[in-house]
């Protein structure tokens, strides 16, 4: 792993416990858990603000977390409605969670001392798998048995061949989705760590800015590709 010197969560009791049970490096889980806790806390804050004041309108100019979240949700929903129309609201929880989880995970890497969970292949693979499984679940649910037509070519006798090829294509999607995020974050974090070790002053700040940029872009790319894949499964086979 990169930048071992900056991982501060490596020596917690939870860490050693996990290490004993699994025989694996638990740092990504702990970091991901941290991000998850943060997000759940945020979620509870938001839902509580709704409970205390069910009608919050955007006309209120004061900046609250709820307003901010609503702004994000509005933008995301708009983006989703471009490709999947009415289905957008159904898939908002999945896509939104993926997006915000990855964004916060990525941004965690720019804070010195933390590893972004997304700089571990297993985390990104988990996200990609969840998205792809959801994609196919959605496909089966909307099209039923006909969904298999997505995997068959236009010619019947070529169907088994096409099936293998399509499966390869879908596996490639998982791979490319997870590897893109993982590679970018890993590389970014590595560069940041190296420069942090070399020149501890000023220059890392520039790389941190770059890190923030890469984090946002990669989270965005992952989210939009997820939207594309799901809307692809929603379409009719051609």
């Amino acid at each position: 792993m990169a930048a071992e010197t900056f991982i501060i969560l490596d020596h917690t009791p939870l860490h050693s416990a996990l290490e004993k049970i699994e025989g694996i490096d638990p740092a990504p889980i702990i970091h991901a858990g941290l991000v998850s806790l943060l997000l759940v806390g945020l979620a509870i804050t938001v839902s509580r603000s709704y409970k205390s004041n069910p009608r919050i309108h955007q006309e209120e100019k004061t900046f609250t977390i709820t307003n901010f979240m609503e702004m994000i949700v509005g933008g995301l929903l708009n983006f989703m409605q471009q490709t999947m129309g009415d289905h957008a609201k159904t898939f908002l929880p999945l896509i939104g969670t993926t997006g915000i989880f990855i964004l916060i995970s990525n941004l965690l890497g720019t804070i010195p001392g933390f590893d972004p969970p997304t700089s571990n292949l297993n985390t990104t693979l988990a996200c990609a798998i969840v998205i792809v499984v959801a994609t196919h679940y959605v496909g089966v649910r909307t099209h039923g048995v006909k969904y298999i037509k997505h995997f068959m070519g236009p010619v019947l006798w070529l169907a088994p061949l096409m099936f293998v090829i399509e499966v390869i294509g879908h596996l490639a999607r998982i791979l490319s989705l997870s590897f893109r995020l993982f590679g970018n974050m890993f590389g970014d974090h590595m560069v940041l760590g190296i420069f942090m070790g070399l020149v501890p002053l000023l220059i890392p700040v520039a790389f941190m800015g770059l890190g923030v940029f890469v984090s946002v872009v990669q989270a965005f790319v992952f989210t939009l590709l997820s939207i594309l894949y799901i809307s692809g499964a929603l379409e009719e086979a051609h």
Binding site: S36, L125, A126
Partner: protein, 166 residues
């Protein structure tokens, strides 16, 4: 590349997946549903407000159209009433004219008739008078000439023939 691929560990992967699915479910319950609800409500509110505004606009248009229509109707009605009145007046005048004509004709005819009657009566009177006068004259003349009855009659006939009115 080898190193990166080796980083894959099944246990870690499973853990992360479970964690991520849990996170999705939790956030769905706590964050997305309420936010989505709020966003929906707001959209609904905006839509409703727009619809209400549209309705109000339509109502206004209806009202003004109604007004316009009423005004037009009233104008048309007035027009019709005026026309009717004029017609009635003209008819009355015409009727009166005809009536007067008739009345006048009737009076004239009556007058003519009575004149005619009177004239006839007068003529009859005159005839009678003339006859009696003639008889008297004849008697007087005959008293003077009693001798000849035949002559007498002859004379009378001659006289009567002479007196014959036109």
């Amino acid at each position: 590349m080898e190193k990166l691929v080796n980083e894959f560990s099944f246990g870690l992967f499973i853990w992360q997946t479970v964690l991520f699915v849990l996170l999705v479910l939790l956030l769905r319950k706590f964050a997305w549903k309420p936010i989505l609800k709020a966003v929906n409500e707001r959209e609904e509110g905006i839509k409703n407000a727009l619809a209400a505004a549209e309705d109000a606009k339509k109502e206004m248009q209806n009202v003004s159209a109604d007004n316009e229509r009423l005004l037009k109707e009233a104008r048309a009605e007035r027009e019709a009433m005026l026309k009717e009145a004029r017609e009635i007046r003209e008819k009355m005048v015409a009727d009166a004219k005809v009536q007067a004509q008739k009345e006048g004709d009737k009076i004239i005819r009556k007058a003519q008739e009575s004149i005619e009657g009177e004239k006839k009566a007068a003529i009859a009177d005159i005839k009678n008078e003339v006859a009696s006068l003639s008889v008297e004259i004849a008697e007087k003349i005959l008293q003077a000439q009693l001798d000849n009855k035949d002559k007498q009659l002859k004379l009378v006939d001659q006289l009567v023939d002479d007196i014959k009115l036109r």
